[in-house]
């Protein structure tokens, strides 16, 4: 066991990928000499060279489009999109090219491309630096979408994402980047697309992912002081979603609250609520509730504490669920 930050976990994970996979590459804006604006790729260019840790031109569509071409040539690119709000220039290359070419080819072409995207708010940033665009990609068949919530998952999940032959959009909660945690670098973690029950409980199920797992855990701790026994599940994989642990949890608790930073409208929480209703209808004691960002553009940073799901809003939702 080693204690490290999420950034270190990602850095060490990438390092292992680069050591184990000679065809793997890291490419993106400022990932080389600078080591990335968050330093996730710090030191990699020094150790693996500028042919494998590639500072690209400042063009997101170009990053994904050329990564596709490199993958067609047999390389295994790991791309960095510098911030969530900068991914949109690459939208066609992600959803119409990366996601669809393998299917279009009748399975003859596989595109093992990982796209890392630091996402989410809570860091007091300027516009376009705090968004949660995961639903766009989870909606797109052909992509897999995952997000880590802690250093151990960061370390293992980035390796698992890079090991598969499907494109993976890898969301990193930037406000958890510096949080530290125990990482067992010997024992591989849970499979990439498995959800994890973070805390067991019987009163209600909190379903979270990425940056809101911490929020949910803190809410559960606070609720415990009031005698409420909340279960917390970390989705980890947003496409595909690992449904069985969710169904099992809700059949036990009868109540569920989904927590994410992205706006609620047509978000991951909506899909979770729909599926829980379809599969666990007779176990539910209350409607599945959502605590999410509001259906507005991400606000100016002085308002982000009001926009983001927090402990109070989560506990309020639990109370509303229990009133049913």
């Amino acid at each position: 066991m080693t204690t490290m930050s999420m950034i270190k976990g990602l850095n060490e994970g990438l390092r292992r990928v680069l050591e184990d996979q000679p065809k793997s590459l890291v490419m993106g804006e400022d990932v080389g000499r600078l080591g990335g604006v968050f330093r996730v790729t710090d030191g990699l260019q020094k150790d693996f060279g500028s042919d494998r840790i590639i500072d690209t031109p400042l063009a997101e569509s170009g990053i994904i489009g050329t990564a596709i071409g490199l993958a067609m040539r047999g390389y295994r690119p790991i791309c960095e999109i510098q911030f969530d709000g900068f991914v949109y220039p690459a939208f066609d290359q992600l959803v119409s090219q990366l996601a669809k070419i393998p299917n279009r080819s009748g399975g003859r072409i596989r595109l093992p491309v990982v796209v890392r995207i630091p996402y989410g708010g809570g860091i007091g940033a300027i516009e376009h630096h705090s968004e949660s665009p995961e639903a766009y990609f989870a909606h797109t068949a052909g992509l897999k979408v995952v997000t880590c919530s802690n250093p151990a998952d960061a370390y293992w999940m980035i390796q698992q994402a890079a090991a598969g032959d499907d494109p993976v959009i890898f969301f990193e909660p930037k406000r958890r980047y510096h949080g530290k945690g125990e990482v067992d670098t010997e024992k591989p973690g849970l499979d990439l697309h498995r959800a994890r029950t973070v805390r067991e409980g019987r009163t209600a199920t909190l379903i979270a992912y990425g940056p809101t797992v911490d929020v949910a855990e803190n809410a559960a701790k606070a609720a415990a002081e009031e005698g409420l026994d909340l279960e917390v599940v970390d989705l980890r994989s947003l496409s595909p979603i690992d449904w069985e642990p969710l169904f099992a949890s809700v059949r036990k608790t009868g109540r569920a609250v989904v927590v994410h930073e992205a706006p609620g409208n047509v978000g991951i929480g909506a899909e979770v609520a729909a599926r829980l209703t379809e599969e666990c209808f007779y176990s539910l004691e209350a409607p599945v509730l959502r605590v999410t960002g509001y259906d507005v553009p991400y606000p100016a940073s002085r308002l982000e504490d009001d926009y983001l799901p927090n402990l109070d809003r989560v506990l309020d939702a639990v109370d509303r669920s229990l009133e049913h």
Binding site: T66, A67, G69, L70, Q97, S105, R108, G142
Partner: protein, 389 residues
């Protein structure tokens, strides 16, 4: 500065473009009248057999393409994008490729596909709607058609980076990559990003722009103020302007650009100035935006006619040869037509099978559900209350 001037498209519709004296100076080795002309930088020296082969390619490409239009009209294809008029651009560049080179086409490159010796059925299957155009692109060294304009230019730029990273350039037998696109593509961000990439990484990539003067209905005047071959220079990428209706010139220029790329000297852009004689696709109505006079102007520059004249004048081929090629083209067309008609519809399960390398459980469940549902519809109905158990 005569070579900087592009014929303006502002002329009144009823008046065709200015005569060739006002056209920018492009590389031309064969005049529209079929006379061989000299160029200070480019020449061509093929065997008699190779010269005749180019004619065969031009004619067969034209006939197979015409069959695409016919099959669409007969309801056998959903859509067909004709290449009529662009045969020389495709055959000249297609034959300039060496076996180790890789092609990234757009969606009108039937002639290039023919020159590469690749089974053409995939293109017809795509436009018939029985699959999405998948082939063994690695073995073929010819990628799938790209429908989103210019998207393929970035794939080619990345692939070419990989070729260089593999150390497969810098020698006479090095690999080069060619990406086909049109004049409309030059307005897309992806095209411009691909030029940046190819330039800064000095990749072995040739951009082959078939400037057929139309992006559906819009002329060059709506796509650029400076023609693509000149814009390339701004990216540090040499641009070469060539008569796209001259199969000898497109061959010579493309061969030069490819050999430059394989030798490690970096990317270039070839702008082949040609004309789309048919509407954009079989769904388009070109009479709404251009007239017969303009078509007549370009008929006089026909790539096949001029090449045939030259072959005959040079004594490289005679009427009996031309007749034999017509016969062979007819056979090719009949054989292809029969195969297109025999293409069967895919199974419902096929839409699920290749989305992921590792199929998620949810997709597998939907697949089973769709297959079962479809099978249930095929059950003979025994009236209300019957159940499949």
């Amino acid at each position: 500065m005569g070579d900087t001037q592009r014929p303006a498209k502002k002329t009144v519709k009823s008046r065709p473009k200015p005569a060739s004296t006002n056209e920018p100076q492009f590389v031309q080795l064969l005049s529209p009248e079929g006379r061989r002309v000299k160029h200070p930088d480019y020449d061509i020296d093929l065997s008699d057999e190779e010269y005749r082969g180019l004619y065969r390619d031009l004619v067969i490409t034209r006939e197979l393409d015409a069959q695409g239009t016919a099959l669409q009209r007969q309801g056998q294809l959903g859509l067909w994008p004709s290449l009529l008029g662009q045969e020389a651009a495709q055959v000249g560049s297609g034959r300039a490729l060496r076996p180790q080179d890789t092609v990234f086409p757009a969606y009108r490159e039937l002639g290039v596909q023919w020159c590469r010796g690749i089974d053409l059925i995939s293109s017809f299957a795509l436009f018939r709607g029985v699959d999405l155009g998948g082939r063994d692109t690695v073995a073929d060294r010819f990628n799938m058609y790209a429908i989103v304009i210019a998207s393929q230019t970035l794939h080619a730029a990345g692939y070419a980076m990989g070729v260089a990273m593999d150390g497969a350039v810098g020698t006479e037998d090095g690999e080069a990559v060619i990406v086909y696109h049109g004049d409309g593509a030059t307005s897309e961000g992806d095209f411009n990003e691909a030029l940046v990439w190819a330039g800064v990484f000095n990749s072995p990539l040739v951009f082959f722009c078939q400037n057929n003067q139309y992006a559906i209905s819009e002329t060059n005047a709506r796509q650029f103020r400076l023609p693509p071959y000149r814009r390339a220079e701004g990216f540090g990428v040499p641009g070469i302007f060539v008569d796209g209706n001259d199969v000898l010139a497109t061959y010579a220029v493309t061969r030069g650009a490819l050999d430059r790329a394989r030798g490690g000297e970096g990317p270039s852009l070839v702008e082949a100035y040609t004309y789309r004689m048919q509407p954009h696709t079989t769904s388009d109505d070109a009479t709404r935006y251009r007239d017969e006079a303009e078509l007549d102007f370009w008929r006089a520059k026909d790539p096949v006619v001029r090449y045939r004249k030259w072959l005959a004048a040079e004594g490289l081929a005679d009427e009996s040869y031309f007749a034999a090629i017509d016969t062979e083209a007819g056979e090719q067309v009949r054989a292809l037509r029969a195969r297109v008609m025999a293409l069967t519809d895919p199974e419902v399960s096929e839409m699920f099978d290749n989305v992921y390398a590792q199929m998620p459980a949810g997709i597998a469940a939907q697949r089973a559900e769709a297959v079962e549902f479809q099978a249930s519809l095929a059950e003979p109905s025994t009236g209300a209350g019957s159940d499949v158990r």
